[in-house]
Each structure stands twice: as C-alpha cells, then as structure tokens.
Symmetry: D2
Subunit: 328 residues, 4 copies
C-alpha cells in the first residue's frame, strides 16, 4: 500500500518509518510546510517531497497519514475523503465538536475509510487487557481505573494552543475508558489544578486532574492525570469485574533489580513516549493497513474520535462549573 | 493498664486478646448484652464479667475499649468520659454529625482522653507510606489514590442499619485520605451504584462507588470502593508528589509463585480483615496505651472521627444530588 | 501440655513464649546454667526455675524443649527419652554422626517421641511450596535451588565451635532440599571460601559456599550460602519439575514501593531471623504439640536430623578434598 | 558497511535483517548450500546470491557474518581472515579446543578482526546487570547464579551432533559467568541427567545439569540448565557481592496481571529465543559494526569463545568422571 505522509514532524517520522519497514507498504510522498523536514523524511523512507494537493491527486497514493498540526486535521480529512484516499489521522480530528461532526459528515457522504490515531489501544499490554475483558476473564465490568502521567509538561506555548489538559492529554484516557468499559459514560465529574507549573494556570489550563464517570448501567471509571512523573511515563490501566481484576502495568527500562542496604531498586518506567509506545505505533499502522486491504472498517474510527472529545468537553465544563456534567 | 472491654463481639475479642497479650496491660472486666459472649471473652482474657455501670465505677479500671454496636458509642463515650476513664472507641462515634459534635463537647469539657479506632493508620504498610510522605520522600503531595474492596458484602440486614457505604465502609478511606494528604478536603464528588447485589439497592444503599475530593490548595484524592473482590481483601494506597510516588500494596497469603503453562500465579491477597489487619489492631492498641501512659494525646482522636464523617456525609449528598458538595 | 524448657537463651525464649501463648499448653519449669536467664524466662512464662534433673523427674512435665548448647543435646535427649518425656530438640542432635546414631538408638529403644527443630519447614511460604510440589503442581521434580544468606556472620568465637558452615548453617538447606526433593541425595560436590571475614578462614571455616547434589534417579539440587547479605535475610527456595516451577521468595518489611528519579525502591527483606521466621517457630511448636496429643509421630524427626548431618559431612569432605563425595 | 552473509538459516536471517535495517550497512551477498534459502534471504535484504569464494574475493565486501553449520566455522574464519574481511561468527568457533586454537592462531597472524556471537551479553537486561557490577553497585563479586532453561529440547538428531549440553547450551552460561565474574574460573564440578527425554540419554547426552565453578580468589558461580520450561524461556542471572545483589529477571509477554479466585496470574516469559533476544541480536551487530568502524577490537572475541569452550570441556569431564576438574 502506497502512502502519502502529510506532516514530517516527530509523529510523521514514526508513521513514515513504520510504513517503510513493512514489505508490503511504502511511503511515496511526503509533504511538510518545512521543506527541510519533508526532505529528511522523504530521504529516510525512499519517498519524494510533494505538495499536499499533488499527493491527494496522485493516482498511486492509496492512503494518507495525516500528521500535521491539529488545526489542519479536519480540513485534510475532508480533502482526502473526497480524493478517495484511505485516511489515517492523528488524534484529534479537531478541538471543536461541531467541526468534528461536520468533518465526519463528509467522511460518511464520501464513504471514506478513516482511522484515528489512538495508539494506546494497540499497545500490547492494553490490547491484552482489553482482550481478556472481552473474553470475560473478569466477568461484568464494574470499575475501570486509569493512571496517566507524563514525565514533564510540554512548553506553555504548546499548552496555550492545545485545547487544555482534558482535550490534549486526558483524551487518550477517555478513549481508553471507552475501550475497556464497553459502554458509554453518561456523566462526568472533574477536578483539576495547576500544581506542576504556575505558568500553566496563567495560560488558563491545569496540569493535574482527576475525573470520575459513570455509564447508564452504573459502571464507573476513574482517571488521574498529571503533567509530571519523576519515575518515567506512568501509564496504567486496571479493570474490575464481578469475577476479578485485570491490571496492565508500566513498562520498565530493564528487568534488573538491585538489592542492597537501601532496599531493592528496579528501573524507572520507560520515559519517552515514542519508546514506551513503539510497538503500539507499529501495531496501529498494521491494523489500519490490514483493515484497508481487507475492505473492513478500521478502528478506532471517527465516531471514537468524536466520543472521546465529547467526554473531554464534559470534563472541561465540570471542572469549570464545579458540577457533574451530562455527556453530549 | 487495666481495661474494661464493653462489647465482646468480633472486634471486642481482638482488642481483648491484644490487651491481655501485653505484659503491662490486662483486661479486668468484660460487659456484653449477651452473657455467653461476655463470659467467653472474660475467660479467654482472665477477666470477670461485669455490667457497664460497674466497669465505669470500678476504681481499678483505667481504660475502656468500646466495642459495642455503633448506636451506643456516643453515649458510652460520654459516660466513660465523666467516669474519668481513658477511652478507646471503635469507629464511628455516631452516624449523625450533630450527635458526634455533642459527644465531643462532653469529651472536651471532661478533659477525657479519646482515641477512635481507625486501625488502618496502624497497618505497617500504610504507616510506612505515611511516614515517607511526612519525611518528604515524594515531595509536595499532588494526588492520593485509594482502592478499597471488601471480599463480599455484609448481610443486607446489617447494611440497612449501617449508615450506608460512605459512612460504613468508605469512612476508613476518608480517614486514610486525610492521613496521607495532610490537608483537609473541601469538596467531594461521588458516584455510586449497586452492582454486587440488587437487594442492597432495595435497601437504599450502593455497593460500588468512586469519589474524588480536592483540598484548598488543589491537591486531589480518589477513592474507589466495592463490596466485592474475588482475589482477597483489596487495600491499596498510592500517593503522588512532585518528587515521586509511593505505593502500599496488598498483603498476599504467601510469597509463593507458581509458573507453568498457565503463566505465573501467586497467591490471593489476605482475605479476612482480621488477618489482613492483625498487626494494625495490635499496633493501634499499643499506640493508645503508650499515649495514655505518656500523658500525651492519642491519635486518631474525636476530631478525626468527626472529619471523616463530614466527608462521608458530603459524599452521600453528592451521590444523592449528582452535584459536587462542599465539606462541612 | 506442660513443658519444661531447658535453655533460656534466645531460642529458648521463643519456644517458651510460644508454649505460654497457647491456651492448651504451659511452661511449668525453666532450667539454665545462668540463673538470671532462667529466672527471666520463668517469670515471663509463669513458670518456675528448676534443675534439669528435677524437670525430668517431674510428674507433671509431659514434654521438654531442649534449647541448650549443641554439645548437650544428645545427652539431654537420651535422659529425656528415658524419663518418658516427649522431646522437642533444637537442631542439631550432635555435630558427630556416631554420637547422633547412638542417641537415636536410645530414642528407638525407649520408644520416645522426638522432633528436631528444622523450623523452616514450618514457614508458611516454604510449607506452601512443599505442599504444591506434593500435590503435583509442578509434576516430577527436576531441580531444587536454595539461596540462603545471613545478614552477617556470627562471632568468630561461635564459628570456631559451630562445626563449620556446612553443619551449622547449610544444615537447614540440606534439610530443605530433602524436604522438597522427596528423594535422598546420593552425591555432593561443594566449593567454599572465606570472602566475608578472613578471621573465619583463620578459624578453619568458610563463609561463602555453593553445593550441588544429585539423587539416585538424577534429580539435582543447588545450594548457595553466604554469611553476608546487605538487603536482609535472603531465604529463597525454587523447585522445577516437568510441569512447571514454584518459587518461595523473601518476606519484605512492608509492601511499600517508592518511585522517583532513582527508580522504584521497595523494602529490604526482613533482616532478623526471629522476625523472619516468627510464624515458623509458632507453627513448628503447634505441629509438635498436635502430634504428641494425637499420638502420631512428630516431624521432622531424629532420622531427618541424621540425614541432614550426613549431607553436611559429605559437603565438608567434598570441600576439603576437592572431590565429589558419596553420602553416608 | 557491506556484508556477505554465509548461511541463510534461522540465525542468518536475523543477522541479515539487522544489517539491512541499519542506514549505514547493507547485505550485498548471501551464500547458502540451499539455493532457495540463499535466494529468499537475498531477496529480503536486497542482496545477491553468491558462492562463498566469490564473497570472500569481492572487493566491496568489508565484513562477513558466518551463520553456517558449526563444523564449517573454523575453516570459514580462517579463509575470511586471510581475505581481510572483518568477521562476525556465530558461536562456537569449533567444538574441538585444538581446532579453535589453530583457528585463532590464523586470526592472530592475519591481524583479522573477529567477534563471536555470544548475543546474551548484548541483551539490555544482562548488559545493564554487568554494567552495574562493573560500576561497583554490588561491591566485590562473591557468587554468580545463572538459570537457563529452554522451552523444549531440539530434535535428538541435532543433539547427536551438537557437542552435548555443556558445549551446545551451557556454553552461553559459561560465557555469561565469565562476563559477570570478571575473573576466570579455575575449577568446575558438574552433575547431569536426562530427565526430559530418554532418547537424549540414548544419544549419549543429558538435558538437565547443574554446575559449580570457582575462581582463583574464591569467587563462585552456579549454573542450572534444562531443555524444558513450561512457562517460557527461563533466562535469569543473579550476582552477589559484598555490598549487595543484582538480578536480571525474565522478560514477560506483557505487563498484564489477572487477579481472581485462582490468585494473581501474569504472563509467561517470552518463549521463543528470537523474540526474547531480539534486542540482543540487534545490539550485538551494532557493537560489531561500531567496533570495526572505529578500528577497535570487537567483543566478545575469539579468546572468549575459547575460554567458554574450555569451561564446557571441563564440565563435560566432571560429569563423565564424577570429579572436580581443573579448567584448561
């Protein structure tokens, strides 16, 4: 399958390398507003630099990976949908629900294939947890608990344009909660504060938050987020059901443990998200290519993107108003 | 130190045995509405059966352990306070905040010594976690997460009189949150449902709940509770701060792990709370006796009992109203 | 069951306290060459001080616990056997195989009941491991691996009289190997050196040793010993069979784990053997009393004591000669 | 760096793919006695099929990776050395010590660069363990313990030509022991038996073995091997020193743990050695290429290959004779 990669930044490089490494897929074109970035990725993947229009017009391009800034996603999805390309788009589709709905309407009308990049679903640990839940290993779900802490906050300049913690960071956890719960949350309560960096508060955002949600049948989910973790990228999911519990823990740097007068010490969790989730990014693309080849619906899709955003919006309003908020 | 034990049920037996096992303390009298229960505990501890009045009047009784039903606690505390006995009372002081306040007023006026039985503070694991937090091992607290699941629900008849999950079960976790946070929560949001037993819903209660709280400075706490756990008594506390994280895990039956075609399997967590918390009950009484002997204030005290109850009441109102509730 | 305790040192105090704590047993007499030690233990257990002869002659003494120095064990066992007392004797019976055989002959002729204090068999973790092996959880045994490291060496003055590392320390591991293997080792190879303290070498002993053994059917066992461990008392057993593996790990001080920039740190293993093995000492005496009451053979018995000593002797000769040595 | 790959079997494919995946290296030729195998690997790596002579004569080939059957290694090393190629050779150089010495003499005379494929040194876990030992984290080494169990035995036809368990399987552990000990073992005692498959005994070999070794200064090492493990590929190393202990544990399939009425169950260890050691194979080649580029000596080298073989031979003789055997 031949890809055009739109956006040659950090995440574009990941997807480009993963496409190039498969024997049955190739990057043929790379576009980026920064010519040097486009050229570098094109060289690394054996592709050519091209304008977005040219990529979308190219007959030999079957799929595009949209890795450009967030505010370009919805527009590019619509253009690619009309150009009959299979679309893999980094999350989010847009920070605005109305814009997302309009975009998904175009996707629907054009019959386009769209996958949204919630890569954590493809992490081998979380995928295994979800598989066990689906197989009934813990029975009927009762409570899902998600802990998600980044090693350190992004620049405040990024935060100011990010849509805020709920839409930028916790969106992954909202998607994970939906993925594991198997039922839609209908109400959200959120609390948050800026404990890591006061500049984040000045930018109108928070860096520390806890959220609870419930579904129509009374299942519950908890999420805790922080923009700080000294011991690595903390990414854990736990699900409780009437037959038991399943937990996916952190991935540590090595299996080594040192014991001495100070106690027993093992390594930090993997710190850098591209290393932590290297298999997830690879598997995500494999799943997209597999679905497109098979003519089946890739997953997670635009609706998943929308629903996670609706949860983020509800959490944002709950944090702002101090009230429990109904979803959607 | 010579004790009168009031209430010879399950928890009275624990405290009676712990008093009797110390070389410097003794049970001298036991009272219980059930003469057979009183006689059995008296025999086991080398004490005599007596009426409550007689115990409170006895010159050689320095301390009483109140282990009778909840609705007798406040009255007994007041009587023991007026009788100048040091008082160790099982939680809660009362299910009604006004009654607790009135009782504590009597304690204050009489200058009585009162400790309330939040035994989990004395569990070696949780005590060690708290000590490290206090020593600054994780820096300034950001988020405290508490998971607390009982192996199975008590009889519905008990639940109907219990004050409900928040006052009966989660009260321990509210106390633990205060213990670890080091700052009072000012707002509570709660969600809950009856997933374990529909009869619990019919009794007006829930068996599954999640709560978030925040303090004035923006610290957060999460609690999850269930009346069901198939893998033992699940009792975990985790605290995050700006320098790191500290976690107190479950106590497993043994350290044995079996590996085979099914994977690696280790034992369930200790299932029965009296075994899980055997050291906590012992240490709790040691601390009480130590404080009384030293003439210092025992801990946790009546104010701790009141504050945990205020959190439970706030959670109850949040669950009922669907709104975030200010504490107190 | 009424006990006379012979020897009021560290281990005598443990057994005395455990006898006294049971509702159905009591210490009635304590003997020790040091009158103050005898008096202290007698006071703590509600017993009287007595001479050994008087204890053995006392009609009301049903059992004796021999906790005196090693070189008195065999003689005391014989005297107690002739006095028709049930005998619990600390390991070893004697450091000399011929003396042990003679002693066991007296035990046999008198029909006396004798248990030898290999307390580790009664540790809940090792007992559980053994139970699973016996139940077939790992299938037919292939290899047993034992790691046993003391926190620090005893005084050189003790080592000089101890019979050496194999008879004094590794004897517990030889017994554990027999306990788990379920088949007698027939050959032993040993290597050892003094790495902890050169004074130990000067006393003719070693402080670090590794041993391999094999049984007639080709099962194997490994033991490693050291008189030094900075991270607590290291006591682990692992058994491999054709269906899997079972491992009993160390008992840590708490379940707390601290994560920070240094990694994840958990507590040291329990350091002091009396704390590490508190349940083992209690269970060991329970088993002895239970067996005597039931009229059944207590375990481990004199033969177990002899067989462990034969393994220690074989290891000693292997170390000295540099050759593999047949057992017995 | 341009490579010729000699041998296109399982391990040749691994090294070929790793060479091809690096931006600065390439496979240019592949040779194999089986033309189809050679063609397949050539296609996968973008190389051409060639005869060995042609590869060695080719001007553009800077390095060869020898991945052919064991009995061809020494001869190919000599030819490649004379052809001035940098040589990466799979272990062992030969099963016969005299042949290895002769081969290494040629390597010495030609000044050739030779690395031997003890890939486990490059496993991130074992490499980290070794690094900590080298940095003094556990102080002066006392005991090294290695557990190494394959999921299941190779075909008996392979075993018959393999040189036996000590030279074929435990050779990796002898190298690991040397790697960690930092001092040469001078004596070996071995025990072994055929517990997995009687046909292995009939082929004159064993499938279960335990070995102890000591160095001149009294450090000790233990190795246990089995050709069977139901719970995955069991690969653990533990090192004890005067300041503490360091342990490298197994790599499990995921971090997921399931808790229920059966206890807590986590995944098996990774079962297939090519997955278990994927990073090790990659890192091994990176180190070889890095050394050749830098003009430094690659590691482990021919002497390491020889010394591991000498330990295997000593273990073999110890097993056969029942005596401790001096090395070399």
């Amino acid at each position: 399958m031949k890809f055009g990669i739109i956006g040659a930044g950090r995440i574009g490089k990941i997807h480009g390398a993963n496409v190039a490494a498969r024997p049955d897929s190739a990057v043929v074109y790379v576009a980026d507003a920064d010519p040097a970035a486009a050229a570098a990725l094109a060289k690394a993947t054996g592709a050519k630099v091209a304008e977005i229009d040219a990529i979308l017009a190219a007959k030999d391009v079957e799929a595009v990976a949209i890795c450009s800034p967030t505010d370009t996603h919805a527009d590019l999805i619509e253009r690619a949908a009309r150009a009959k390309k299979a679309i893999f788009c980094e999350k989010p589709i847009d920070l605005d629900v109305a814009r997302v709905r309009a975009c998904l309407e175009v996707v629907k009308q054009t019959g386009a294939t769209l996958a949204v990049g919630f890569h954590r679903r493809f992490d081998p640990n979380f995928a295994s947890l979800r598989k066990r839940v689906a197989e009934g290993a813990i029975g009927a779900i009762e409570i899902v608990s998600i802990t998600s802490r980044d090693p350190s906050p992004p620049p405040v300049s990024y935060i100011a344009r990010s849509g805020g913690l709920f839409r930028d960071m916790m969106i992954h956890d909202f998607d994970m909660a939906r993925f594991v719960l198997g039922e839609e949350p209908v109400a959200v309560s959120a609390m948050g504060s800026a404990l890591v960096d006061k500049a984040i508060a000045e930018a109108g955002d928070i860096d520390t938050a806890v959220v609870i949600m419930e579904t129509g049948s009374g299942k519950a989910a908890q999420i805790s987020n922080s923009r700080r973790a000294t011991y690595g990228h903390d990414q854990r999911v736990e699900a409780h059901g009437d037959k038991g519990m399943v937990h996916a823990g952190n991935v540590h740097e090595t299996t080594v443990e040192l014991a001495g007068a100070q106690g027993y010490t093992r390594d930090k969790a993997r710190n850098f998200f591209l290393e932590r989730y290297d298999a997830a990014y690879r598997n995500e693309l494999d799943a997209f290519i597999g679905a497109v080849k098979a003519g089946s619906k890739p997953y997670p899709d635009g609706e998943d993107g929308l629903k996670a955003l609706l949860l983020a919006d509800a959490a944002y309003r709950s944090w702002k108003t101090g009230q429990r908020v109904a979803v959607g």
